[in-house]
Amino acid sequence: MNSVQYMTLIAWKNLFHDKVRLVVTLTGIVFALVLISVQFGMFLGFLDTSANIIAHNDADLWITAPGIPHVNGGSPILEKKRWQALQVQGVETVVGYSVFFLNWKLPNGAFETCQIVGFDLDAGLGAPWDVVEGDVSALRAEDTVFIDVLYKRKLGVEKIGDALELNGKRVRVAGFTKGIRSFTTAPYVFTSLKNSQTYIRMRPDETIFLLVKTTGDVVSAQKALREVVPGVEVFTKREMLDRTQAYWVFGTGAGTTTLMGAVLGLLVGIVVVAQTIYAATIDHLKEFGTLKAMGATNGMIYRVILTQAGLAAVMGYALGISIALVVVNATAETDLLIKLPPEIAAGVFGMTLAMCMSASLLSIRKATTIDPAMVFRG
């Protein structure tokens, strides 16, 4: 064992010697970590759920009525614009697509708001994904819909074949998806474009959106469509996604709130960890002074303090991320999505390490400015 390893051993033993302090330190780190991970996971979940029907849609361009704020706030446009769009060079396919808030009548007579999503069954653009029961082709029947298993109870549905009422018309459940969450309290209900026109009570020559598949050059097609099709706006998939996420996640304050929670978690974490690591160093100040008197260099003292902070970070992270994963798993079957992908978990580890190391910098300064004569005091 060399002196570096021995300093690491001292750090390890120092950390475990006072178990109460260790628990306090780890509690601070774990508390901060869980708060940061869950809040940031919720933020990522909000980004996902607010625009999932765009992210999972293969359309390159979206043609909409002017001034719509987000994908859930569309208003009808004439479907004849489809023919105008099809004449543009670089446009391969143009199909109608609907997203609209409607009332869903529960078996007990109460109403829930839902969002009907009507898509073109032949083109498949905007079709439901992660289907767990039923066949999407069943939506060719005139009163059929797919819903998500997470919203079964909310919509009063138990199984395929259950019949309820949507905007005053009969509706039958033909299948289920799993994990298609809505940012709002209104779940998505997938059906064919034709059915959606009936449920929304639009005229047959109207649609909410026109989805465009291009032959390759999306930007050129977008520019040409803006020139050729009057009275509409044309967005790329990215623009539609950003617009929708910006509205729901930041416009409503939900994203800012969760981000603020994550930042507060970080600040609380830094303060708690700084305080406990600083206090732990002060407790060992005489030992560091003794080490210096014995001939240890400042570098060796740094190593002990930083190793203590690093070990606390690793243990705190292991505990904190485990608890955060339990929370994430606990919400897997609910309508709240908390995302904790590996890259974020790795980022949180780096942040924990940085948090603990920066917290220990204060105590390093204290340890290296020890009055040397203190070692001679009783």
């Binding site: 001292i10 033993k13 030992e287 003794t290 040397p372 004569a373 070692v375």
Partner: protein, 229 residues
Amino acid sequence: MIEARNVMKTYGSGDNVVHALRGVSLSINAGEVTALMGPSGSGKTTLISILGGILSATSGSVRIDGREIVGLAEGELPALRRDLFGFIFQGFNLFPALTAAENVSVMCQLKHVPEPKKRALELLRMVGLEDKARTHPSDLSGGQKQRVAIARALAGEPRILLADEPTAALDSVSGRTVLEILSGLAREKGRAVIIVTHDPRVLEYCDRIVHIADGRVESDSYRTVEEVA
């Protein structure tokens, strides 16, 4: 071995200046036990800190085997302390999280002593504590703690031992054991032992007594052969 000439140490500046040492001159020889005595605040701790390379003198000269240490760069001092000195403290200053053997090993590690664990056990055996190698300081008596501290101080094979009130926290039996070990190191191993003390029990183990008062050497006398006997 150690030649201190006109060592001055002041703290603060202007109206707040404090003169801790006002021109101390002193020679310390190998194989001798020297007691530094004096009232609290007289400058004993400051002197031992300067002699041990822990504190820098404001002016004057401290030579160890002819090598000037006043004015050495901060980065050179750790190696100097490691190579020349062993420190023994009134409060023992053992690391509570480490066992007795590990406490001694720390110094072996700093000095890159081969087989540090084995060496630590040898030193504990020397101070009569081999059976306490795996014991933590909290489970040792005061005398045992001080003996572990002596073993630790010896781990680097220092030529000079600086002990600050080594018996102050010990009962008379433990105190005598510690003093016998320290005086034995001077007489049998030729080490220079400097003991800062208020404890009159220490005097009978010393070859020389230096009284410090108000930052100056007030008296410096060797004990007579009869006194030592």
